[in-house]
């Protein structure tokens, strides 16, 4: 009792004392960097629950007693504690928290948040890390830099070809789980106009229209917990790009100039044999006059290239000076390589940034040119960006971000029967590529190798001069042109009004619009009918957005609240026209030149989504954070009476290092999040309609036809939902010298809208249904370290690692398999499936038939391996992926190296299969264990050694079999097991050695800084499991959602260059 009274008295006295001495303290908080006021800074009296925050002018006022400690905190600045003295004005300048730039993270809707307060993982990459080696496609630069983000790229020969991103595994049954791309808050299209079969030109994904030199940072919102605020569009994550801006403050102007030049070399060619030439038997063909000759066969199973004088294809052209002559039959070891030339890449960028007290502006222009490694291919690119903001009054400001991009290109045809890409697949080992280079004789006759001479005339006749499967590759490259160009604008204009110190209202009008032109011309004289097609594709997406941001601190409690609304309109249209039946006049590439009625398609797609959303993030003592978000979407693509859906998320974090007070731990946080995000469908899948068929028209009738589509739409469709949980811990030790971020996630994507493959006897190939449940579980680890920090030498390193496991849990009643993709060659199928109870994306095809007891291959009565259909080869997705980034600073030198890696995953190599089938691959002419060439007759000691269990006797046998029969007719045609490659690799993707001019030198020059760097992109595949000649890191060759097949893959392109950066 006595104690209580004493306490009460003491309390009373202290309160009285405080009360008695309190006064109003006011002041202004500014930034040490630019002297500008900082709004929204939290000012609290330590040890009490009193607090306020600064207004738009950085001013505050608070009641505090002398001796009390003011705790001043703001995101991105180092906090300060100031003891109240006798004065009534306390102005404070905060220095930016440069030690840990990562602390500020751009989150959904472009809201900047302190990393502490996030209950989910949001990894961010600085722009400088993306422009190390000037890759053209910004998505490709993310490879290995963010845990949980897998990038599947394409060969540099495609010039800005497809770069695909998978975040946390495959979260869609269709594999079409590409993240949303957002630049400065404006969602931009990442459409891909390429074919999904890996055949044709790879135009790349249009997200590459952002100039990498304009990027300040990229943050990836990996799971629904982070992206729930994007509602219908957030299911597969968001890539948030923030561009560089001018700065408000004392008048200043910065001019940056950067130039890069690189040469591009092809590499990684498949080893081929150089002993046997064209033919399907080892005997020469002879002309009636007794001359030995070579025909237009595309196999290299022929006679030995022993110098025997033969009539080559060119000797059958009357136009050729060697007409009728014999030339030695010899190998051309480098014929594939000789198709390619040294490409180059030139990139220039200039930016001007500046500002004054109330305005900021940045302007940049980028010009890029690539001369391809394939002759007559090129890409031109121009990017222009202007952004600025202006404070009209102290409370009202306006701004704009405008980006313009323009590309034009002439690209190679990829895939099977592409521009020279077929040469590894089917070709003659005896053809000199340089001989084909002059593909046209002066009279216009095309010089073809894949044609047969008229035997009696010993001439290639004009009528017979039509290649059966393969054009002269140079004819393809110079006459069959793929042209494309794109003009694009994207950006926003915005206005914001600081209503109250705590409340800011903003409105944005955002737009992304482009026109894509694509055309293809097919010339007369090739294997195809001549023709022309041209398409104009236009896309406009507008977003009208309203956002209210509310920040308030009450003592130790802080609230960051946002509420907003968005109206999205999409309008996509195209007009595509194609000639039919040939061109009326050769090389008249125009729709008017169509011999028959041209094929014309016009298309229009419109969609609208109306949304409202709100978030609230509470912080307590800057230690405990809790956040909730909610979004409502109404989509016009959904059934009218059922088009409104809600997407909530909740997450929390707890920063425990200060509580723990353990010296070596400089930062510690645990986080937990749960969210629901969604995805709806493209329009017109809820109504029934018919298709327009071909027309039957002759002199008597003109019959138009209609047909029932193969896909059955569904008026009862619902959006799909992703439920995701993630938990993680972030630790930093020894003053941030060592860091660890660990995340575990478990995501279930449910009721996806898919075209379900159904038995054809239903009358349809697929039904649009809500189906399935796919689960992805995984971990992500990011380790950062600064092993050495000194003035002369420093080293920092980041290791990203992620592992994902997917599982198809449900599909559709009575249906256990969903076919994602398939390929058929020589009537043999391979399927990519999603099957219940299995990981996503398993390949099913023909495999060796094996003895149940021993697992050994079963051999038939001729001792040839036996095979069976429908073998499950397992998933194509990797087990784990990651990257290892190292930066060294040694004196004035910077050395950066980026390694990325992948373990597991599979792809089907059609190139390898056909290189073997066509008798070109080295192993088809190797020596067997008896020292004889496998192509020698079995009776003479040749043949391929085969061992296994005989299906006839049940006994183990070893035998020699005829090479062509084995490789061509069996392995190369039937046994797909042989052509499934493990996609594991470790690749040195980028390396850069830079030199910074010293301040001393700079004083004599008009630059503020200057850096020169030697760079190499793709210099080295450190290790790969797949055989040489295949590149598991370059599997994207078009818009297919899962890269599981490689056919006529363009060669690996290694690029070596020099970069110069100057700042004035």
């Amino acid at each position: 009792m006595k104690k209580t009274i004493t306490l009460l008295i003491l309390l009373l006295i202290s309160t009285l004392t405080l009360w008695a001495q309190e006064k109003t303290i006011s002041g202004k908080i500014t930034s040490t960097e630019d002297g500008l006021p900082i709004p929204g800074v939290s000012v609290t009296v330590k040890g009490t629950n009193k607090g306020t925050s600064t207004d738009g002018n950085g001013s505050y006022s608070i009641q505090a007693a002398p001796g009390a400690v003011l705790w001043i905190r703001s995101i991105g600045f180092q906090p300060k504690e100031i003891t109240v003295g006798s004065g009534a004005v306390i102005n404070v300048s905060l220095s930016p928290d440069s030690q840990n730039l990562n602390e500020i993270v751009v989150t959904a809707l472009g809201i900047k948040r302190s990393e502490k307060s996030l209950g989910y993982s949001a990894q961010q990459v600085k722009g400088d890390d993306l422009t190390l080696t000037k890759q053209q496609n910004v998505l490709g630069t993310l490879a290995g830099k963010i845990a949980g983000v897998q990038v599947v790229g394409s060969s540099g020969a495609s010039m800005g070809g497809t770069q695909k991103i998978k975040i946390r595994g495959a979260n869609s049954l269709t594999g079409k789980d590409q993240p949303l791309m957002v630049v400065d808050g404006t969602p931009i299209s990442n459409q891909n106009f390429s074919n999904s079969t890996s055949n044709g030109a790879d135009y790349g994904n249009v997200g590459q229209d952002i100039n990498p030199d304009d990027i300040e940072s990229v943050s990836v919102l990996k799971g629904p917990a982070a992206s729930a605020l994007y509602g219908l569009r957030g299911q597969y994550g968001v890539i948030m790009i923030t561009t560089k801006k001018g700065k408000k403050g004392p008048k200043e102007l910065t001019v940056q100039l950067s130039s890069a030049f690189a040469i591009e070399k092809t590499g990684n060619f498949m080893p081929l044999q150089n002993i046997y030439g064209v033919g399907n038997a080892q005997t020469f063909l002879t002309l009636p006059n007794g001359q030995k000759y070579l025909d237009g066969n595309d196999e290299s199973w022929g006679p030995k290239m022993d110098g025997t004088p033969v009539r080559m294809y060119y000797s059958f052209y009357k136009q050729d000076p060697r007409y009728g002559q014999l030339t030695p039959f010899v190998p051309q070891p480098d014929n594939i390589k000789n198709l390619y030339q040294t490409g180059y890449n030139l990139n220039n960028n200039i930016s001007v940034a500046g500002g004054n007290e109330n305005s900021a502006l940045r302007f940049s222009y980028n010009n890029g040119y690539i001369g391809g490694v394939l002759p007559n291919t090129w890409l031109k690119r121009n990017n222009l960006a202007v952004n600025g903001s202006l404070d009209l009054t102290k409370k009202l400001s306006v701004g704009a971000n405008i980006n313009y991009a323009n590309n034009s290109a002439q690209r190679p045809t990829e895939g099977y029967q592409g521009s020279g890409t077929g040469s590894v697949q089917w070709f003659q080992r005896n053809i000199d590529m340089n001989e084909l280079r002059n593909y046209k004789y002066p009279d216009g006759t095309i010089k073809n190798w894949n044609v047969n001479p008229d035997k009696t005339l010993a001439t290639i006749t004009p009528d017979g001069n039509k290649p059966s499967d393969w054009n002269n590759p140079f004819f393809d490259l110079y006459e069959n042109l793929n042209k494309d160009s794109r003009d694009r604008f994207f950006g926003d204009v915005n206005i914001s009004y600081q209503v109250l110190p705590e409340l800011k209202l903003s409105a944005f009008a955002r737009s992304d619009r482009f026109t894509q032109n694509i055309s293809h011309q097919e010339a007369l004289g090739g294997r195809n009918l001549d023709g022309y097609w041209v398409g104009k594709y236009q896309n406009t997406e507008n977003n009208y957005e309203f956002l209210g941001q509310f920040n308030k601190t009450w003592g130790e409690l802080s609230l960051n609240g946002n509420f907003g609304a968005n109206l999205l309109t999409q309008n996509y249209s195209y007009l595509r026209q194609e000639t039919q039946g040939g061109l009326s006049s050769p090389a008249f590439y125009n729709i008017e030149g169509s011999v028959d009625r041209p094929l014309v398609t016009s298309y229009l797609r419109r969609k609208e989504v109306r949304s409202m959303y709100a978030t609230a993030s509470f912080g307590y003592k800057d230690t405990y954070f809790l956040e909730g978000t909610i979004r409502n979407d109404n989509s016009s693509a959904l059934p009218k009476n059922n088009n409104s859906y809600w997407y909530p998320s909740v997450s929390g974090s707890f920063v425990f290092n200060e509580l723990l007070k353990w010296e070596p731990l400089s930062y510690g946080k645990v986080r937990l999040g749960y969210a629901i995000a969604g995805s709806d469908l493209s329009p017109y899948q809820t109504g029934y309609y018919y298709e327009i068929g071909n027309t039957y028209k002759n002199d008597l009738v003109n019959i138009n036809t209609q047909y029932v589509p193969d896909q059955l739409n569904n008026p009862a469709i619902k959006p799909s939902f992703a439920h995701s949980m993630e938990a993680g811990i972030d630790l930093r030790f020894l003053k941030n010298r060592v860091g660890l971020e660990f995340t575990y996630y478990n995501q279930e994507n449910q009721n996806e809208i898919i075209p379900l493959t159904v038995p054809g006897a239903t009358g349809y190939s697929s039904f649009i249904v809500n189906a399935g449940k796919i689960q992805n579980k995984g971990i992500e680890v990011t380790l950062t370290g600064k092993p050495v920090v000194s003035k002369f030498f420093s080293w920092d390193a980041t290791l990203n690692f992620s592992r994902n496991r997917s599982m198809i849990k449900e599909l559709y009643p009575d249906v256990n398999t969903y076919r994602l993709d398939y390929n058929t060659y020589s009537k043999v199928d391979i399927f990519l499936n999603a099957e219940v109870g299995k990981p996503f994306g398993n390949l099913v095809g023909q495999a060796y038939q094996r003895d149940a007891a021993t697992g050994k291959i079963l051999l038939d009565k001729n001792n040839l391996p036996m095979y069976e259909a429908n073998h499950d080869f397992g998933t194509v997705l990797p087990k784990f992926t990651g990257g290892f980034v190292n930066n060294f600073h040694i004196g004035s030198f910077d050395l950066s190296a980026m390694i990325d890696f992948q373990s597991g995953g599979k792809f089907f190599s059609w190139t390898k299969m056909l290189a073997v089938k066509s008798g070109q691959a080295a192993e088809t002419a190797a020596l067997n264990d008896k020292g004889f060439n496998v192509r020698d007759a079995v009776a003479n000691g040749g043949g391929v050694k085969v061992s296994g269990i005989s299906s006839v006797t049940g006994q183990e046998v070893t035998a020699y079999v005829e090479a062509r029969n084995y490789y061509r007719n069996l392995l190369g045609t039937q046994v797909y097991e042989e052509w499934l490659m493990d996609a594991s690799y470790v690749k040195l993707r980028e390396i850069s050695l830079g030199y910074n001019l010293s301040q001393k030198t700079l004083k004599k020059l008009p630059f503020r800084s200057a850096k020169i760097a030697l760079v190499a992109r793709n210099p080295l595949m450190i290790w790969q499991k797949a055989p040489k000649g295949l590149d598991p890191s370059d599997l994207s060759a078009g818009s297919a959602s899962i890269s599981w097949i490689e056919k006529g893959q363009l060669p690996t392109v290694r690029s070596y260059g020099i970069n110069l950066n100057l700042t004035f």
Binding site: P467, M612, Y696, T705, G760, A761
Partner: protein, 472 residues
Amino acid sequence: MKRIHTLTGLLAMGLFFSSCSKFNDDINTNPNKPTVASGTKLIANAEFYLQDMSSNAYGNLYPQYLSNTTFTEDARYSTVYFNYYTWYTGPMMNLETVINSGSLDIKEGPIVNQIAVAKILKAYFLWHVTDRWGNLPFSQALKGKDLVNPVYDKQQDIYTGIFKLLDEANASIVVAGGNIKNDFMYNGDMTSWKKFGNTIHMLAALRLSKVDPQLGKTEFNKALAAGVIDNNNLNFTYRNLSDAVNQNYWYNSFSILKRKWYAVSKTLVDRMKPFNDPRLAIYADKNLAGNYVGLDYGLNSSVVVDNYSLLGAAIRQQNSPVYLVTYAQALFAQAEAAKITWIPGGDATAQSNYDLAIEQSIRQWNNNDVSGLAAFKANPEIAYDATNGLAKIATQRWVHLFMNGYESWAEWRRTGLPVLNPPADLGKPIPRREAYPTLERSVNTANYNAAVAAFPYGGADDLNARVWWDKP
């Protein structure tokens, strides 16, 4: 005051967005596709698929009409699994839609006639597919979302269904009522359709000669009595056009792709050349040396093309027609029916039909030119004789059905005539059915397994099991 304004603004904005879960009707209406279909246009589209019954390498390899000069795997039965889905998702779904449509347009011809034509064509497609694959979905097929996993019906039941469809069509056609529109097979002529329907009814009935002669005979006579194709002008012929979209399949192969991949087989030439068959000049081109030389069927490697007779140039013009169901075929059927006493008249009737069939076949193929006919018929090997009646009928039918491979292959399976041998070194018999698409095992597993288990004469899902009417 200012605050109030702001709040009002906010509220207004919120209302603007939230009140709008209603969209304009037109935004989700597909402007790229029609929502209504014309019955006859659906039928016309189904007709496009008719040529695929003949324009296919496999069909013409099995009965050994053609032989590969290169890439000989096809002739050696390397492909086992064939996809029947297209027949359902393509023509049959169109026809089913017409049959079940409540909104056919009378302006396109009498509705009963539109439906009758759809039924005849459906029966014809069904007949084609069941003869190739055997048991197939039928009673539960073409039901869309109502039946995701259709069961397989026995071929026997499918035949019953075919007869029923044709009976209904025959009964409902109003010849006097008027033609239907948008029909490029018979230009809407209902007499022709009626006769065509009865002809396939009769031919399908004959298919039952081994397995159920009783039923076969009944159906045969019913169809014959209802009126069958009785002149070459009524032949069910797919007329290709001189444009890229509607061109002949073989024209594309030989003239566009420049693929000299198909020669006529030695099997065929050996049964034509010794007898100066006037059709040989149409069926085959001369080789470089100026002779008709058939290529051995199913060799293991490529040959020098110039030494052999390629598929005849007349058959592979851009607008070369494809003969599907012909007068001669109907006559051969009647000849056989007489021989096996399904119809009266015995050998005399058999012979008269046989002779007329040969004449009409030559008229059909040789553009009504009958020169050489008499001499040809005079060959003792060709002239009808009662002892070898069935063999002669079957052999001449086989010659007549050139390039209508699947039909000819079915007749060979039924009769075993003419005698055909698989490639000697192959060790595989001539296929007796085509295997189901491999996808079916994954997407219709239970029904697929049940179908294979219910094969009438056992066997696996491969090329060697037999269909119901092909009773061993």
